[in-house]
Every structure is written in C-alpha cells, then in structure tokens.
Amino acid sequence: MNGFIGALFDPAMPFVRNAVIAGLLSSVLFGVLGAIVTVKRIAGLAGAISHAVLGGIGLALFLSFKGIVPGLPPIAGALVFAVLAAVLIGIVSLKAKQREDTVINAIWAIGMSLGVLFIAKTPGYADPMSYLFGNILLVSGRDLVLLAVLDVVVLALAWLFYPQIEASAFDEEFAQTRGVPVVAVFLGILTVTALAIVLLQTFVGIVMVIAMLTLPAGTAGYTARSLAGMMVGGVLLSALFSLGGLATSWTLDLPAGAVVVVMSGAVFLGTAAARGLLQAVRKRHSAAGGTR
C-alpha cells in the first residue's frame, strides 16, 4: 500500500496519478448513471451497447491502419457505434416489445464480432484484451478531460431533469399523463449512457463496464430512501472501490479493472446475503413472539 501512495506522488509515474483521477471521475458516472440505469431497469440494454462498442473500436483501428482515415482514434469509432447502438436499441425496445430480447442480443453479438473481425485484419492490434478488460494505466490527459466534461454534463442533466427521470422510472404511464416526454427521457438516458460507456471502458473495459454501472448503485439502493440518495451512495461506493481496487492491484500486481469489479461484486452480494439473513432472523423472532 505504501508503494502505491509513493507511486501516486512520484513525478516519474504520472500514469498512476492519472489512473486515480480517472477512477474518481468515473465514480461520478458509475454512481449517478448507474442509479438511473438500475431503477429504469435498462442494465441489459446498456450491456448490449457496451459490447457493440467493440465494433466501432475495431473499425476505427482498421480504417486508420489502412490509411483510409489516417490517425482515426479508436474512441471516435467507439462513440459512433455506441450512439448508433443506443438509437437502434432504443427504437427496438419501444417498437418491437415481442422481439426485444432477440434483437438486442443480436446487436450485442454483431457489434462484438465486427470488432473481432476488424481487429483480426489490423496487424499490430491482434490483441483486443485492453479494450475488453480495460487498462487504466493507459488513460491519457485527453481521456481525463473528456471524463470531467461528461461528469459535468451528467450532473447538470440529472439535477435539471431529476423529477422527470424519477417519475418516468417509477411509473412511466403516470409520468406520461403529467406531460413528461417519456420517450425522449428514455432515449436521452440511453444516449448519455452510451457516451459514458465509451469513456468508462478505458477503466474497466467494455465487458465489465456494465458491472460498475449496476453493482455500486445497486448496493447503495439497499439502504437509500430516494433515487438521489442512491446516486450519492453509488458515487461514494464507486470511489471507494476504485481507489481500493487500484491500490490493491498495484500492490499485488493484478489487473485494476478486474479487482475493482470483484470488490464491487463481493460487497453487493455480501450486502444482499446479510440483508436476507437479517430478514430471516427478524421473521423468526416475530413468529416466535406471535406463538408465545
């Protein structure tokens, strides 16, 4: 642990400091968007978007390598694919309820497969591992700026439209009768989530980003009394897991993203089990009290 704190302030190792800043900036998105994704029950849709993003990354690498669009950064392809996938999934979810699962899984699979195919045809990028599982030590200054900008945008939108978001997640039909444009709210949430996924995948990778969008917020949801409380709790837990995960991974020489996700998952499951146990004990107590 001392080694990690030493590295954090070592001017020769700016990437450690960048990683910590990225972790903290990501926590805002994990907590705020995660709470919305969880109560709106669109984790499945967000998962499909995040996997489809690999197609865009592969395409950008391929186009750049072939000289068709020289210097095209992978994040540009990822953004295009993320927004396309969000719009497509949003429309399918609204219009084709019967086939929703099938179509969304198809988008998930096709996006990923395209990524694998493009990367296979791009020499030098044969290993998509860092995109799949993240590599926080590769976070650049530009990534940090983008993350900070998205943090501000997400916080502003969540503050401005909190009542509309809360109502459309709690009772969509009622929200609609109050004039809330529920379709726009839904597509807006999906699009912002898609953009966030692209920036967050540098941290935990596209495979695990959905875990961080659900586990900390879900854990906070066990004790929260409002959506706002769930957001704040989710941000704090995410920050805790991010810092703890980074320190642990540095100390034990393990992949940071995976450590962060395992920590979040363990705390989520542990909390769920503890609550289940507590409820069972209470039930027994009250049953015993009732028979006396």
Binding site: F174, G179, V180, A224, S226
Partner: protein
C-alpha cells in the same frame, strides 16, 4: 332487450332527472378505435358532467383500458373525438388526476410516500419542485388519509395504503377531473372504506370517474353508470344504465352503501341534459 321504465331512486341515481345541467367534463363523440385489426370501440358516444361521480364498468377485455388511454391522451381515436374539460385530452392533462393500478411497480425502487405524492405536481418536460408545491402536497396527503405515512418507504406499505398514496399523488395536482382505474382491486374492507370516505369528501369539488370490472354494484356516491356494451362485430359502444339502492350488496362494499346496476335499462346519453329515459 326492451328498455324498462326508470323512476324514483333509480332515476336519481343516474342523474336522469336533472335540473340545469352542469358543463360537460368529458365527452366521447362517435369514437371508434382499433388495435390493428381488432376493433375495440365502435362509434361510442357518452359524456359526464362536471362535479359528477361516474362509474365506467365492463368485464375484463371489454375496452375499459382503451377508453382510459383515450381520455388521458395516451392514445388517439381512429375516428370521432374525445373532449376533456372542453379540450383535447393532451391539453387537459394539467387538470386531470390519474390513479393507475400500478401493479408492476418495482419494490426495490427507493422512494418515500411524500416523494411519490410530489410527482403529482409534475408539469411537462421541465420544472423542478418548489417550496410552494408543499402546501398542495400536504393537503393531498391529508385528504387521502395518508399524512402519517409520508416519511415511510412506498415499498413498505400494504396494497391498500399504496392505493391511497396514489390517490394523494393524483390529488396533489389539484385536479378538476379525477380518474381511478380499479381503485379497490385487492383492497381490504378497511382500506376500501377509507378510500370511499376520501372520494366522498372530494365529490363535488372535482369530477370523478371510477373504472371497474365489477358490473354488479356501484358505490352509493354514483351519479352516472356507463357500461362498456356488447361487442357488435366492429367494436363496442358505451351505454348509460340506471342503478338502484339495494340491500343485497355484499357487506362492506364501497365502505357501506351500494347501488345495484340495472343492466336491463338504457338511459339515453342526453338523459342528464333534460331528456328522460327510454320508455318514459
């Protein structure tokens, strides 16, 4: 079936003998609606007046939900028109309070009773809650009899309590027209009594429409009974029926007194506006 003569209490119960008719709160004029090839409504014409307590009844699958969606502006008629408080339902939303069944709510959603009721103050795409909304929220909680539950988690309430919270949410918008979808489904007798006491207090200050699948009896508060009618091949229409006091209603129904719906009567849609029932 031949329509029967309506007189006495039954006529009063349906509002068939009216003094000067009040303005119309909601009106369907020759409304037809189909889901794809499946016709639901065919040329349905009916209306209710401001201040009335109306009940829309019909068996499951008859098209009550469709009528609800049309009058809430969530669907548009294929032909004919729907007017709510004199306007297109989409423009009357601010004046309408809706109490849905809300059977698919997420028990893991972290939200308190007061915050649920606050949703009733929502107006459109923008606007946050301000302090001046608090008074309306407090009044609504009081009127629905759930003030003491305000700080509780919504998921910790019983089904009957949740329903009354949803009534409070609808009242928080200070509606001129209150629409309740199956308000007493899965409700215990105490909660039902509490709900109908609240509706009795509200009656007169707002027009009330209760939608229910129970076709036998209606609350004694009822002025107008509207039945989603027989399927005529191209969809159903809506018929106004009479109702009369009865001693046969199961105990505790509607918190006390009930009226029996007289399905073999047909009251013309214009009866409440001065005309008398068929056969009179």
């Amino acid at each position: 079936m031949e329509p029967v003569v309506i007189s006495g209490n039954a006529a009063i119960a349906t509002g068939a003998i009216a003094t000067a008719p009040k303005p119309i709160a909601m009106k369907f004029e020759g409304v037809s609606y189909a889901y794809g090839q499946v016709a639901v409504l065919d040329n349905a014409t009916f209306h209710i007046h401001e201040g009335e307590f109306a009940v829309l009844l019909g068996p499951n699958g008859a098209g009550k939900t469709t009528i609800l969606r049309l009058l809430l502006g969530l669907a548009r008629p294929d032909s004919g028109r729907v007017l709510v408080l004199g306007a297109n339902p989409r423009f009357a939303r601010d004046s309408v309070g809706y109490v849905p069944q809300h059977t698919t709510y997420d028990p893991a959603f972290p939200i308190t009773v007061e915050e649920v009721v606050r949703m009733g103050r929502l107006r459109g795409a923008v606007g946050r809650f301000r302090r001046e909304h608090q008074e309306a929220i407090d009044q609504a909680l009081e009127l629905a009899g759930v003030s003491d539950l305000r700080a509780r988690l919504y998921s910790a309430l019983s089904g009957g309590q949740r329903r009354r919270v949803l009534v409070a949410r609808a009242l928080a918008g200070k509606p001129r027209f209150l629409v309740l979808d199956e308000p007493t489904a899965n409700m215990d007798a105490d909660s039902e009594r509490g709900l109908y006491r609240a509706l009795g207090d509200i009656k007169g200050t707002a027009t009330i429409l209760v939608v229910t699948h129970d076709t036998g009896y209606v609350s004694a508060l009822t002025d107008t009974v509207l039945c989603v009618g027989e399927h005529r091949g191209r969809g159903r229409n809506v018929t106004r029926h009479a109702a009369a006091p009865t001693a046969e209603a199961p105990e505790g129904f509607f918190g006390g007194q009930a009226l029996r719906v007289l399905h073999d009567t047909t009251v013309p849609d214009s009866a409440c506006c001065g005309e008398k029932a068929d056969g009179v």
